[in-house]
């Protein structure tokens, strides 16, 4: 075959394949916005569910998700950033650091439902926290740890080596160098990773199934040892477990969850690209 012609055909096929990946994303967004938009109102977002979830709002689920995500971040960000500092600033390329990297890869690959089992085994049962916001947050926190470590590592590695050399040559200690010459420049990248982790934690269902999520709990949690409703689990429940829920309520719940997660991700993408453009080195 004529190579020009075969190039045309091949490029068209590749383009079609790309459309097959991207068009469904837009279709999913369009369907959910079109069918769920009508359900969104002040009372849907800010009141309690009533009558076995067929009426009222989803406020406790929204608030529950915010609590869980907040808890996960409080736990995972300090730990993740310090782990990244270890990998970039302290470890040499030895056996231990290879092992740490392998562990991070594997943490990222562990199925979310296995995190749920782990959380059930260690936090709910062994440590006796029960099914609670604390157990759920810790489980989600460990799950998003790889996301945070990986992006913090990338951010730290992108700070030029010369910054460190200058600081050290002026007599600063190793920690002072990291604290004042490296971390400030890596901060936007670390923030990006944190937001991505937030988005991931907000959308996951399997890890909270057995560690915190309540089926129907029309009141707000009082302490970190309370159970709570959560958006993704609520969507699962009203779309598979409870018959007779109006379609617009299901789509509305999906829309709120999707909006929360996508806004977080969009914020991260924008932040990252601005950071990359602004970088002067």
């Amino acid at each position: 075959m004529n190579p020009r012609l075969s190039q045309k055909i091949a490029f068209s096929i590749l383009f079609l394949a790309t459309l097959l990946v991207v068009v469904p994303v837009l279709a999913i967004l369009a369907i959910i916005v079109a069918k769920g938009g009508s359900a969104i109102s002040f009372s849907f977002l800010f009141t309690m569910p009533r009558d076995g979830m067929t009426a009222g709002g989803i406020f406790p689920a929204i608030l529950g998700t915010l609590y869980l995500v907040g808890g996960a971040i409080v736990f995972a960000v300090p730990l993740g950033v310090m782990a990244a500092i270890y990998l970039v600033e302290y470890s040499s390329d030895n056996r231990l650091s290879r092992l740490v990297k392998l562990a991070i890869v594997n943490l990222a690959g562990v199925p979310s439902v296995v995190y749920g089992l782990f959380g059930l085994g260690i936090f709910v049962t062994f440590l006796g926290f029960g099914a609670s916001i604390l157990s759920g947050s810790l489980t989600l926190g460990i799950m998003i740890l790889p996301v945070i470590i990986t992006s913090a590592r990338e951010a730290l590695e992108s700070v030029p080596h010369s910054f460190r050399l200058v600081s050290l040559s002026l007599g600063a200690s190793r920690w002072q160098t990291i604290r004042h010459s490296v971390l400030p420049h890596a901060l936007p990248g670390i923030l990006t990773g944190t937001i991505l982790g937030l988005g991931r934690a907000a959308g996951e269902t399997a890890p909270i199934l057995f560690t915190v999520a309540a089926f129907y709990l029309p009141r707000l949690p009082q302490s970190i040892f309370d159970q709570t409703m959560a958006l993704p689990y609520h969507l699962y429940v009203i779309s598979t477990q409870v018959p007779g829920i109006a379609e617009s309520v299901r789509y509305g719940t999906a829309l709120v969850l999707l909006a929360l997660v996508l806004l977080l991700n969009l914020a991260a993408i924008v932040l990252r690209s601005r950071f990359r453009r602004k970088k002067k080195w």
Binding site: V110, P111, L117, P232, Y236, S239, L262, I269
Partner: protein, 293 residues
């Protein structure tokens, strides 16, 4: 003098904390495995490992209960193979398009689109698959229910796609420019260069991309539970309801009694999943390292 010692002490503490945090990832992997073993191994006091892995019936609440997970393994395998058959060719093709052909602006937009796909929560994808894809499959194939292995495969293909595309795209972009320049200088067309030179050079990275995509599919829980119909029987066709390993844990943990045989059996399934994904990710990591060299 005293202030200096205080500062030194503070830094010493901080550096210990950093070292400790670094090692925590290893601790967590080990802890996850230990706790799965702790809760799951109890099953094998009354059950042989072989009966568990190769037993053909999963009746956890009949008496006596039967804990054979072969139907679940086959269910996971069927859904995963189906998803791979769809997502691998499409994903690799899309990665080639994005990395080699798309102009800069389009490339950035497409990459953002794929990141958004990766961000959609699995329960939302399951929800959409359940109410749009399910009825469609039911009508097209004239089957009694639209919640089948095929529905699961299509749904999961979309969840594997972002992983495959983004990692394959990285591998393609990492191919040195001289390879392309040499091929073009020899008179090859852009497509010949892309297909015969660049795609070949990026192959280890592509293998890793496919493996990580498959790892994601095997571990996926909520979407698969919502769209595959959840029947724990050995599947004979891709148009039948199936039940995967992950969905079994998620669906049954709530009704099992803590410390009972059913509870242990679900943790034992967790061990199986952990080992499978550990192997897949370990191998993918090896391929990625090879492609970087």
């Amino acid at each position: 003098m005293k202030r200096a010692t205080l500062r030194k002490l503070k830094e010493w503490l901080i550096e210990r904390a950093i070292l400790l945090s670094g090692v925590f990832s290893i601790v967590f992997v080990v802890l996850i495995f230990l706790f799965l073993l702790r809760e799951g191994l109890a099953l094998f006091r009354g059950e042989s490992v072989l009966d568990f892995l190769l037993g053909k019936s999963w009746y956890p609440i009949s008496s006596p209960p039967r804990f054979g997970i072969l139907p679940l393994i086959l269910g996971s395998l069927l859904v995963t193979l189906g998803a791979a058959a769809i997502s691998v060719p499409i994903g690799i093709a899309a990665a080639l398009f994005i990395a080699e052909i798309a102009p800069r602006r389009l490339k950035e937009a497409l990459k953002a689109g794929i990141e958004l796909l990766a961000a959609i929560p699995s329960v939302v994808i399951g929800f959409i698959g359940m109410i749009t894809l399910g009825p469609w499959i039911k009508n097209v194939f004239h089957v009694p229910t639209g919640l089948t292995a095929l529905t699961g495969s299509v749904t999961l293909a979309f969840m594997a796609m972002p992983t495959i595309v983004s990692i394959a795209e990285d591998a393609i972009t990492a191919v040195p420019r001289q390879y392309r320049e040499a091929a073009i200088a020899m008179g090859a067309t852009k497509w010949q260069t892309t297909w015969r030179i660049v795609a070949r050079a990026a192959r280890p990275g592509m293998v890793a991309a496919v493996m990580l995509g498959i790892g994601r599919v095997i571990g996926e829980t909520m979407a698969v539970m919502m769209v595959t119909g959840n029947a724990a029987i050995i599947p004979k066709s891709i148009l039948q309801p199936v039940r995967t390993l992950t969905a079994t844990i998620a669906a049954e943990m709530g009704e099992s009694v803590q410390g009972g045989a059913h509870y242990s059996a679900l943790f034992a399934i967790g061990i199986v999943l952990f080992v499978i994904t550990f192997l897949i990710n370990g191998m993918a990591d090896l391929y990625l390292h090879r492609s970087r060299k």
